[in-house]
């Protein structure tokens, strides 16, 4: 069935298009109409059960040609295509199952899992939530929510669902324990995570993913010897597995043993059947080469990694979307209009936010680690709630318009306190996360590119400090290019689109600053490296916090920041992170003319 016949559906299901992706659901008869086919379906199930896949497939195709909505045949054919690695066919079939019967728990869970595997977390979450709605007592529904929300950087919500899954299961299932351990590691709860890994491994000693996850956790916690020992154990389970090698390379890189790290990556490359490394391996290789001073090779590896990513994911910068949003924000947020827009009232009780704004890779993680080393401040990390509020706004303000135009409904008698409601929604979501520890009066939100929504933030939190972290634009572009990021309308795959999105966002920041009275402070990453204490004092004073010398030792902050920056922020400040672009001037040449005005305006220059 490998070669597609021209009259069959492009998804690869083996069905004709009119029976597959071009099926008109209105033409389907009631399920009872195909009852005479049930014996064939039973046969297909039996054949599939005993491993007679070709027979099962033939029967399914036969049934579906006559009754394309026959659930049992769709389910068997889906399983066959999934096992064959025929992704598009499997997705089309399981989507049809869910579409035909939204209460099909198994199919809904399968679809959520498939989308999770593809990295489409947003849609995966939609179906996982449906799974919880229709099967609230099914542990797998909760396991899926746990997996998806952990990866979507809402680990606190994920933890809730993992624990619920364990409770419903009534037993300490080792994979579930390992999943929960990974979740807790992402919340920086290393001791708890370690205990769960130990428990999981004791029950199931040869699960590769468990060993790899634990090794990664120890690496994050800077116990490199233990990470190595776990990778040795993994090696015994799956000798030469590329994931083990990649983890090994990362550990070598973090112990600054760049030569060996690179040698491991090259080994993966040689062993890879398709030839060549994946996106993450290529970018890791580039970063190693960069640290070794082999800049041309490093850049080549970054470029190859980005090419690979485009090939696999097909993502491209959503330039029109970004430009449209920026234009609408600029049209809405003008001084003249804002004079008659009500503001939310200041937060009266409970912890208040400090917004750390900045383009990805500009030093926001370091600033968050610095501030959250203060006993009064908790780290909120990348909170998604500003985005959430932007999306929910039409509903919450009962407006027929989208954000930002929906803010026009604040002029209605029944919505004039709408911003207070949006603010309370945000605060309630923060409370739910449970990130605020006793004694803390502030929490940080360092969602990159939140500066895009600085206007909305200032309306909801008129007294919240907005700390905007600046860094040399060429360093930002280079660093975004050398890391895998999806922020910023998928701008990260090419230098030019990174630069374009950077300029778009900075132009918006300028606009907000011209049109609004903001509690805004710009801090240069380079200045913090240069004179840490002065600038830490400056930020704390701006956020109305007394100086605390623990903030100067932020690298000892045990909190684990989940983003790509964590390896840097657990190291002390060092000078090599500044002006790295100087080694890449010729590679960056295509974007320098675009960025030059911004570079000059921020007080930077381009030096060789």
């Amino acid at each position: 069935m490998n070669a597609l016949q021209p009259d069959l559906c492009a998804c690869g299901s083996g069905l004709r298009p009119v029976r597959c992706c071009q099926l008109d659901p209105r033409t389907l008869g009631p399920a009872a109409a195909s009852r005479h086919l049930l014996p064939l379906v039973d046969q297909a199930i039996a054949s599939h059960g005993r491993g007679a896949v070709a027979e099962a497939e033939r029967l399914c195709l036969e049934v579906l040609e006559l009754a394309p909505g026959q659930g049992g045949a769709l389910a068997i054919l889906y399983q066959i295509r999934k096992a064959q690695g025929a992704g598009p066919a499997a997705e089309a079939l399981v989507r049809r199952l869910v579409g035909l019967d939204p209460n099909n728990v198994w199919a809904t869970q399968e679809l959520a899992l498939l989308l999770f595997g593809k990295g489409d977390l947003a849609e995966a979450e939609v179906h996982a939530r449906n799974a919880v709605r229709i099967a609230p007592a099914d542990p797998q529904s909760h396991n899926l929510m746990g997996m998806i929300l952990t990866e979507a950087n809402r680990p606190q919500v994920g933890e809730f669902h993992y624990r619920r899954a364990l409770e419903l299961l009534g037993q300490r299932q080792p994979i579930l324990l390992a999943n929960l351990a990974w979740n807790l590691k992402n919340q920086g709860k290393m001791a708890q995570a370690r205990a769960l890994y130990e428990e999981s491994l004791a029950a199931a000693p040869t699960v590769l993913q468990t060993l790899l996850g634990w090794a990664r956790m120890e690496e994050t916690d800077r116990d490199f010897a233990r990470a190595d020992a776990l990778l040795d154990q993994a090696e015994a389970v799956a000798p030469g597995h590329p994931s083990i090698l990649l983890h090994r390379a990362i550990v070598r890189g973090r112990t600054k043993d760049y030569d060996r790290a690179l040698a491991i990556l090259e080994r993966i490359e040689r062993q890879s059947p398709g030839g060549g490394l994946g996106t993450n391996e290529l970018l890791e290789k580039g970063r190693l080469l960069d640290k070794m001073g082999r800049h041309d090779e490093a850049f080549a590896a970054f470029a190859a990694g980005k090419r690979k990513n485009v090939e696999l994911s097909g993502t491209a910068y959503m330039a029109e979307h970004a430009a449209d949003l920026a234009a609408r924000l600029k049209a809405y947020f003008t001084a003249g209009r804002l004079r008659i827009v009500p503001r939310a009232k200041p937060v009266e009780a409970g912890p208040r936010p400090i917004f750390i704004l900045g383009f990805p890779r500009s030093g926001t993680t370091m600033v968050e680690q610095t501030l959250s080393a203060h006993p009064k401040v908790c780290a909120g990390d990348e909170l998604t709630f500003v985005h959430e509020i932007a999306n929910l706004m039409p509903r919450m303000l009962n407006s027929p318009l989208a954000y930002p135009e929906a803010l026009a409904d604040l002029w209605m008698g029944d919505q004039c306190e709408g911003l207070d409601n949006l603010r309370d929604y945000y605060l309630q979501r923060v409370r739910q996360l449970g990130i605020v520890e006793p004694g803390a009066t502030r929490f940080t939100d360092k969602m990159p590119l939140n500066e895009t929504h600085m206007g909305l933030i200032a309306l909801m939190f008129p007294d919240a400090p907005l700390i905007h972290v600046l860094r040399h634009p060429l360093d930002i572009v280079l660093s975004v290019y050398s890391n895998h990021l999806t922020h910023g309308f998928y701008c990260a795959n090419a230098l030019e689109t990174i630069a374009r999105h950077y300029l778009l966002v900075m132009d918006l920041v300028d606009h907000y600053r011209r049109e609004m009275a903001l509690k805004y402070l710009a801090v240069r990453y380079e200045d913090i490296v240069d004179d840490q204490e002065a600038h830490v004092r400056r930020m704390l004073a701006f956020a109305d916090l007394p100086f605390d010398k623990r903030c100067l030792k932020f690298h000892e902050n045990k909190r684990y920041a989940r983003t790509a920056s964590y390896a840097q922020v657990t190291e002390k400040l060092y000078d090599g992170s500044r002006y790295r672009y100087r080694h890449y001037l010729k590679h960056l040449a295509p974007v320098i003319p675009m960025l030059e005005p911004a570079i000059a305006r921020l007080g930077y220059s381009v030096d060789g």
């Binding site: 001084a335 804002l338 004079r339 200041p346 008129p462 007294d463 400090p465 600046l470 920041v509 300028d510 606009h511 600053r513 011209r514 049109e515 609004m516 009275a517 903001l518 509690k519 805004y520 402070l521 710009a522 240069r524 400056r538 004073a541 701006f542 956020a543 109305d544 305006r601 921020l602 007080g603």
Partner: protein
């Protein structure tokens, strides 16, 4: 100039005709067309002085000062003794704050044409800009001797005398301001007499807010005195000034449109009151505060500033540019960038009160102290007054904010150009008009660095003093 017969041998027009056509284009506002013709003439005859002169004036109109100067310098090299060239280049150099070159050419123009009132007047203006006030007065008087009705020279003389503290003669000469070529007409109908300062117990007196906001704020202090002489006192002034002017007791009607002004028996421009009341350097009335903010607005802005200014920070207001259409704006205004030293003040929030096009500069500020663009939320002077009441200090160039804060008795560091407006007098760091102001003057034209540094030092001293007292 025999060879100057034709700009282009292929065409049969004379250079004069071409120049005339260029002039016609320029008069009609078709500057590009004029430039094309003049550029062609100059390509054919690069040293032809009349064309160079005409081209220089065109460059000036096209806002290309360097090109204008270069063309006029070439014209002068070609024809060194043309007084009009020197007179004009002197004005161009003045516009570029190149006062040494300006004064040299101004002198040369007077040497070449000693009986040209205009040349003498120009030289007087440059001497004012150079703060050579005695010379400014002398040349203005010479211009007036040659042309006694030359209003700009009277006005120039007034400014120099007032700046020098010679108020009596200064106020008399200042009356010529309404005869200046570009001055707006004071009244739509001038069939009523100007008030002479005598009591008018029965008749109605119309006061007219005739100058800018700053002047209105400065001179409305005289209103209670006027009301004692003329109980039927009405005022015509812009609506923006109403909440300030009406705080001065005694006005029975306020009108911001001529067609609403009722019948009156005499009128008086507000800026004529110091003359009528014989104000001298020693007798300036300063009943400060004579302007107050509304308590409700103060409460609102106090709450707003409490949101925006970090706890324990001083709030220092800033205004660095005036209305760009003001004739002297290039001289009195500065860029926010020039205030950078204030950004280094400890535990200080800078609160921009700037409005208008200069407000956009806020986005280019990345200094250490937070800068709050409060101008974006200011709707009118009642807001500004309330904010001034709440701020700890203000730093501003010569704009209406300075007058408002001064009238309210609020502390302001005023940054003044080397040759300031007459009301700031000379050689003093205080203002008898407004006791709460401190004046910081440029040591030379366009030299803001020194006074800004002194203001920063002053504020840093205040902050440290303030902290010690806490």
């Amino acid at each position: 100039m025999a060879s100057a017969g034709q700009a282009n041998p292929g065409l049969s027009r004379t250079v004069d005709e071409w120049q005339a056509e260029a002039d016609a284009h320029e008069q009609a506002g078709r500057l590009e067309e004029a430039e094309q013709i003049l550029a062609q003439i100059l390509a054919a005859m690069p040293d032809y002085a009349p064309a160079l002169h005409q081209a220089a004036l065109l460059s000036h109109r096209r806002k290309r000062p360097a090109e204008a100067l270069a063309r006029l310098e070439r014209a002068i090299r070609a024809a060194p003794d043309q007084p009009i060239f020197h007179r004009n280049i002197c004005e161009l150099y003045r516009g570029q704050s190149q006062l040494d070159a300006a004064v040299a050419h101004g002198r040369r123009a007077v040497e070449l044409a000693p009986d040209d009132a205009g040349a003498n007047y120009n030289l007087g203006v440059i001497h004012y800009d150079r703060m050579e006030i005695d010379a400014a007065i002398a040349y203005a008087r010479r211009a007036l001797a040659l042309d006694p009705a030359m209003a700009p020279a009277h006005f120039e003389l007034a400014e120099a005398l007032l700046l020098d503290g010679q108020f009596a003669e200064g106020w008399r000469e200042y009356e010529w301001r309404f005869s200046l070529p570009n001055s707006a007409r004071l009244l739509p109908h001038a069939d009523k007499p100007q008030w002479d300062g005598a009591p008018m117990p029965g008749g109605t007196l119309l006061l007219i807010g005739d100058q800018g906001f700053g002047d209105t704020i400065q001179f409305c202090r005289y209103i209670p005195q006027v009301a004692r002489l003329c109980p039927n006192l009405i005022m015509a002034c812009s609506s923006e000034m109403q909440p300030i002017v009406l705080q001065q007791g005694g006005i029975t009607g306020y009108f911001d449109r001529w067609e609403h002004v009722p019948a009156f028996d005499a009128y008086c421009p507000l800026s004529g009151l110091p003359r009528l009341f014989g104000t001298d350097l020693g007798s300036i009335p300063a009943p400060v505060p004579y302007v107050r903010a509304e308590p409700a607005k103060v409460a609102r802005w106090r709450a707003r500033l409490a949101e925006l200014v970090p706890g324990g920070f001083r709030a220092v207001g800033l205004a660095w540019a005036g209305r760009p259409t003001h004739g002297n704006d290039f001289n009195r205004s500065m860029s926010l960038q020039a205030l950078a030293p204030l950004g280094r003040l400890e535990r200080t929030a800078l609160v921009s009160l700037q409005i208008g096009p200069a407000m956009a500069q806020v986005a280019e500020y990345y200094g250490p102290a937070p800068l709050i663009n409060l101008g974006a939320e200011i709707a009118d002077f009642t807001d500004t007054m309330a904010i001034l009441e709440v701020l700890d200090h203000v730093v501003a160039v010569d704009t209406s904010i300075v007058h408002l804060a001064g009238a309210m008795g609020r502390p302001v560091c005023v940054l003044l150009p080397f040759a300031p407006d007459w009301r700031w007098l000379r050689d003093r760091g205080d203002s008898p008009w407004y006791p709460s102001l401190e004046l910081f003057r440029q040591p030379a034209s366009a030299a803001w660095a020194e006074p800004v540094a002194r203001v920063a030092e002053r504020l840093s001293g205040l902050i440290q003093g303030g902290r010690a007292a806490d």
